[in-house]
């Protein structure tokens, strides 16, 4: 390998796209805007492919990883603290980059069709490129601080894109909600970084790992605290309990954004961060179990909510939260490569699900309520077939991609003692629910009769008459992602794990582990059986005109209401956090501190100025002649002072003036 890989260009090309489209986009023709916006991720993808080809090169010498590029000009040099702009390409970041730039490019292509008639076309692509800039920075960062820059940046891009249609109140508020909830997580990340700095004196990932490896005394205690702080950051970005609440609302953004940022890439940053810092977590079994429990709990929790949602994008949002829970579960049982594997396959099928949902919404003229869809199978054939691939993939049915990665996580969980077995069953139940709600979505959207005619007569026409398949700029990415969703899992966890092992440590070899190959096969069989069971339930409930969903809801009104209202978590947070905070801000900060104390001080100072001004004002009569008279009087007084021989006058009165020193 000779010559540089030019890693720095991978983030900077999208940034250039952002600058051009952001500054000039409104004046450029649409074709040019889309060309620039598409070229940036395509070129970045090319660079990543170039790097990948030199890594996988059969002809020796292949590139040895990790490959590091550091900006010759340092960033922060204070005392013993040295932080550089360093980009690290290793097995982990390579896979992340392939997913981000590859899927990112496909979604850019899709967006050209989806956003065709939007007024903010250039702004949209500028934001999308900005997101890629920060996301690639996050992934390539060689130290926690640079990662944090990318981390905050993707949060910014997410905020901008959720609130893209900012004139809509709900969108603007969803953007704010995402931003504020993420601040809570970022607080954890920051505290974690401070603790890292205080205890290790460095923020570079490799140096932290080395220092941890040299001293076996680093267990529990401060490492647990650091790991839990980082976990708090990860739960914010990756929408886990208890900070998941922003993600469902983030669906207010354009659908390709939901696919790219809120399904395939940004929300997986938390998983990536834990995998990147896995050495810390490995030294703290307690923190690891917390990760696993949080992941499993979130997976189950979000899956139950997804059962009864009627908005197609909300179902997918809760499904994303649930799948991210799987990845956390994988991290928590130290199966980092399995988690990253699921991250990759999830990026394929969840991006596909969102894009297909976007195609459905596009075809329905903006309708998102599944109760008003139905029978779209024949009207949107390409969307239907690609969506089918994604649904089977996420349900975890062999041989689609989701099966391999989900199975790897569940298998690793099963191997981890008694807590692992409990979490395995939680994961299994979640798999059942996942299959159920995904096929529910599938049946409601594509099967039965079109329910849109009686629902929404849009502008005098019946909505059903307008349903049309999307243009090929949208369908092309769907087809490619469908192929990836089908075949993405065939890499297999073994090959994937051994490739990643240099970064994430060795994986469990089923042949050598307890239970051997038979256990692996048995667990796979159970997983597929459970997924098929979920499909069966969905089939009996939703394939025809059945009243069973309604009967079930009527039989358990309490449970149904609990799920339909999302466990009242938003209301709970509203009552326990938001309302007290608002009350504190209004009554104490605003009224007492701002208005009474600060405002009072300002009024006092102003009052003094006004009062003294009113006194002094009386001297200014405004009458020019009085001024002139004073002037003349003053001049006269001066003349008197100069010309009258004061010394002799005073001497007449017996006063003698003498100057000092004389």
């Amino acid at each position: 390998m000779n010559g540089s890989l030019h890693l720095w260009l991978i983030p900077l090309l999208p940034f250039a796209g952002f600058l051009i489209n952001g500054l000039l986009g409104r004046r450029l023709p649409k074709a040019l805007v889309s060309t620039i916006a598409l070229l940036a991720p395509l070129a970045a993808f090319g660079l990543v492919l170039n790097a990948a080809s030199s890594v996988f090169a059969i002809s020796s010498p292949a590139l040895s990883l990790p490959y590091i590029e550091t900006c010759p000009i340092g960033w922060i040099n204070i005392g013993t603290l040295h932080v550089d702009f360093s980009f690290v390409l290793d097995q982990l970041s390579l896979i992340m980059l392939l997913v981000i730039t590859g899927v990112g490019f496909l979604i850019h292509v899709y967006s050209v069709g989806y956003m065709k008639d939007d007024k903010g076309y250039a702004r949209y692509f500028a934001y999308l490129n900005l997101f890629l800039f920060f996301m690639t920075t996050l992934v390539l960062a060689g130290n926690a601080l640079l990662m944090f820059v990318g981390w905050e940046g993707v949060g910014l891009a997410s905020y901008l894109l959720i609130g893209f249609w900012f004139s809509k109140t709900t969108a603007a508020e969803a953007g704010k909600k995402a931003f504020i909830v993420n601040r809570i997580g970022d607080f954890g990340f920051l505290i974690g970084m401070f603790l890292l700095l205080a205890n290790f004196g460095t923020l570079t990932f490799t140096e932290i790992a080395t220092k941890l490896g040299q001293d076996p005394g680093w267990t529990g205690g401060v490492v647990t605290v650091i790991a839990l702080c980082l976990l708090l950051g990860a739960t914010g970005k990756s929408a886990q309990l208890p900070l998941y609440i922003w993600l469902p609302d983030a669906m207010e953004g354009p659908t390709p954004v939901s696919a790219l940022i809120h399904a395939a890439t940004m929300v997986t940053a938390g998983v990536y961060m834990i995998a990147r810092n896995h050495v810390l977590f490995d030294h703290s079994p307690f923190a690891l179990s917390v990760v696993a429990v949080v992941g499993a709990a979130t997976a189950l929790f979000a899956a139950t909510i997804a059962l009864v949602q009627t908005d197609i994008k909300r179902v997918l949002a809760y499904s994303t939260i649930s799948q991210l829970g799987y990845m956390f579960l994988g991290c928590g049982v130290a199966a980092y490569s399995a988690a990253i594997f699921h991250l990759m396959t999830h990026a394929f099928f969840k991006a596909l699900l969102f894009l297909a949902a976007g195609s459905v919404i596009h075809g329905m003229g903006g309708e998102q309520d599944m109760r008003k869809m139905g029978g779209l199978r024949t009207k949107l054939p390409v969307t239907f077939w690609t969506m089918t691939a994604a649904v089977i993939a996420i349900a975890g049915i062999w041989p689609f991609a989701g099966f391999f990665s989900k199975d790897a996580i569940l298998y690793s969980a099963f191997q981890q003692g008694s807590l692992g077995k409990v979490l395995y069953f939680v994961g299994l139940i979640t798999a059942l629910l996942t299959a159920f709600y995904m096929f529910r979505l599938w049946y409601l959207t594509f099967f039965g009769e079109t329910r849109s005619n009686d629902a929404h007569p849009v502008e005098g026409h019946s909505a059903g008459a307008h349903i049309h398949e999307s243009p090929w700029s949208m369908l092309g990415p769907l087809v490619i992602l469908a192929l990836l969703s089908i075949s993405g899992g065939w890499i297999g966890i073994d090959r994937f794990g051994s490739f990643l092992s240099a970064v994430t440590g060795p994986t469990i070899d089923p042949a050598a582990a307890v239970g051997g190959k038979t256990l692996d096969l048995a667990l796979s069989g159970i997983a597929v059986a459970v997924a098929l069971l979920g499909w069966y339930f969905a089939h009996t409930f939703y394939s025809g005109k059945s009243d069973r969903p309604k009967e079930l809801a009527a039989a358990y009104p309490g449970g149904y209401k609990l799920l339909a209202n999302k466990y009242y978590v938003d209301e709970f947070y509203g009552a326990t956090v938001v309302k007290p905070l608002l009350a504190f801000s209004t009554y104490f900060l605003s009224w007492v501190v701002d208005k009474a104390i600060l405002g009072g001080l300002a009024w006092l100072l102003g009052g003094i100025a006004v009062f003294s001004g009113a006194l002094l004002q009386r001297w200014q009569s405004g009458n020019i002649r009085s001024y002139a008279a004073w002037l003349a009087a003053g001049a006269a007084a001066l003349l008197l002072f100069v010309f009258i021989p004061w010394a002799s006058v005073l001497a007449n009165f017996g006063i003698h003036l003498t100057l000092a020193g004389r």
């Binding site: 004002q617 200014q620 009569s621 405004g622 009458n623 020019i624 002649r625 002139a628 008279a629 003349a632």
Partner: protein, 107 residues
């Protein structure tokens, strides 16, 4: 020093005239209400000063005082141009030239 009986007009008389003119100017400036008269009073004061300048220049046989006079006249001309323009503008706006009534800037 020249005496009252020499051919030259003595210095004191020039200075007395200058002082009288200046005093007239001050009095006019202070007691007159019409802006134009006030303005003319200022010109009077300037010319009184000019007179004393010329007197001393003659007395000491130096040209400096006369040069000062040119400067003063120049400033006076400029002042007259600006001042008259302001007076016209004030009259157009207020329809009066009584200085007591031109007090808009007063709070």
């Amino acid at each position: 020093m020249s005496s009252m009986f020499s051919q030259e007009v003595p210095l004191e008389l020039y200075l007395l005239l200058s002082a009288a003119l200046f005093a007239l100017g001050i009095v006019g400036f202070l007691i007159k209400r019409n802006l134009i008269t006030v303005f003319m009073s200022i010109e009077l004061m300037l010319n009184a000063v000019n007179l004393s300048f010329v007197t001393f220049a003659h007395q000491w046989h130096q040209v400096r005082g006369q040069i000062f006079v040119f400067f003063v006249m120049m400033v006076a001309a400029a002042e007259a141009a600006v001042g008259l323009a302001i007076i016209i503008a004030v009259f157009r706006a207020r329809a009066t030239l009584a200085v007591d009534r031109i007090d808009l800037m007063k709070l």
